[in-house]
Symmetry: C2
Subunit: 190 residues, 2 copies
């Protein structure tokens, strides 16, 4: 998505340690008009694929998932990082290692909200090593549901998570794939 | 909002301990088409009030905030429950006690994303004791920004948080206010 590449180049910052900071439009402050455009693009790419549920993970995946669902007219289910005391019925649980926070946490969905009837599009803001997505795919498989595909706003191609999924014949649609990132510049995959 | 009252009566469940479970449409799975309707209603109530930013708190406030912002065409800023390692610049911090999780946690926003220019609408899914909202108001005041109002999908009127804010002349617009909740039934404020 050309507009996202341009926005990253214009507004993103590369911090020391080659961390891409897009917190003023994607994962802390949200440019909602732009988010809705990204959601529209994802919905268009998966049109006709029979998606009937979007699965994401709290917190920063929720916004893009909602923006996409608003165009696809399907519900969003967001996996939680700790079991809430209100989640009284059965749970599906998986473990995810967080690259940013350097810890492993439980990721949970209520088992009555993800079932074998679901054809699932998995959405997250970033796709890097792919740990979160692999965890979400595990939840979908536990529920005997089907993974239709995976979509992220920004894929860090050099961290390999997206390509590993593609090798497993999972459809991955990232709106911008960064091949190289340094304080000298950003190069996108064509 | 009549449609929300009807949805709560039809689809909500009251769990032991008088906990209202709406996790299949509001705070775990999201009925996004309905969420967009709620966002439209909030946007209409605050039309002309000069809101230029929506502030919410991760995770379950994000969806309603995005749905509202999609109609108001303003950015959403979501406060984080722990400082991410990517948040390198200045921070505004407050403390919030969680009723559901029985703990106190830091709530943080990047100080360059909330400034004295902002006229802020605070949004959350639930308004109960009001602890989260009071924390968000504190962040707005720390930034020397202005609180235009507060909006929640569901206010638990019997927990008093909303009325306490109204007594302080803060405009509070809840889409459904529950006056009484028990396993025998739900009564709304007119």
């Amino acid at each position: 998505m050309k507009a996202l590449q341009e926005k990253i180049l214009k507004e993103g910052k590369v911090l020391p340690g080659n961390v891409l900071k897009v917190s003023h439009f994607l994962n802390h402050q949200l440019d909602v008009d732009f988010l809705m455009e990204m959601g529209k693009e994802i919905a268009a790419r998966f049109e006709g694929a029979g998606v009937n549920k979007i699965l994401t993970i709290e917190a920063s995946g929720i916004a893009l998932a909602v923006a996409t669902a608003a165009h696809m007219h399907v519900p969003v289910l967001f996996a939680k990082k700790s079991a809430s005391s209100n989640m009284s019925s059965g749970k599906l649980v998986t473990q995810v290692a967080s690259y940013t926070h350097h810890k492993v946490y439980n990721v949970v969905v209520s088992s009555d909200l993800l079932t074998e009837k679901d054809r699932v599009l998995i959405i997250d803001d970033f796709l890097a090593c792919g740990n979160a997505v692999v965890g979400l795919i595990d939840l979908v498989h536990q529920a005997h549901a089907e993974v239709v595909g995976v979509s992220a706003a920004i894929e860090k191609g050099y961290q390999g998570g997206g390509d590993k999924l593609r090798e497993e014949n999972i459809r991955v649609e990232s709106l911008a794939i960064i091949e190289e990132l340094s304080e000298q510049g950003i190069r996108f995959r064509n």
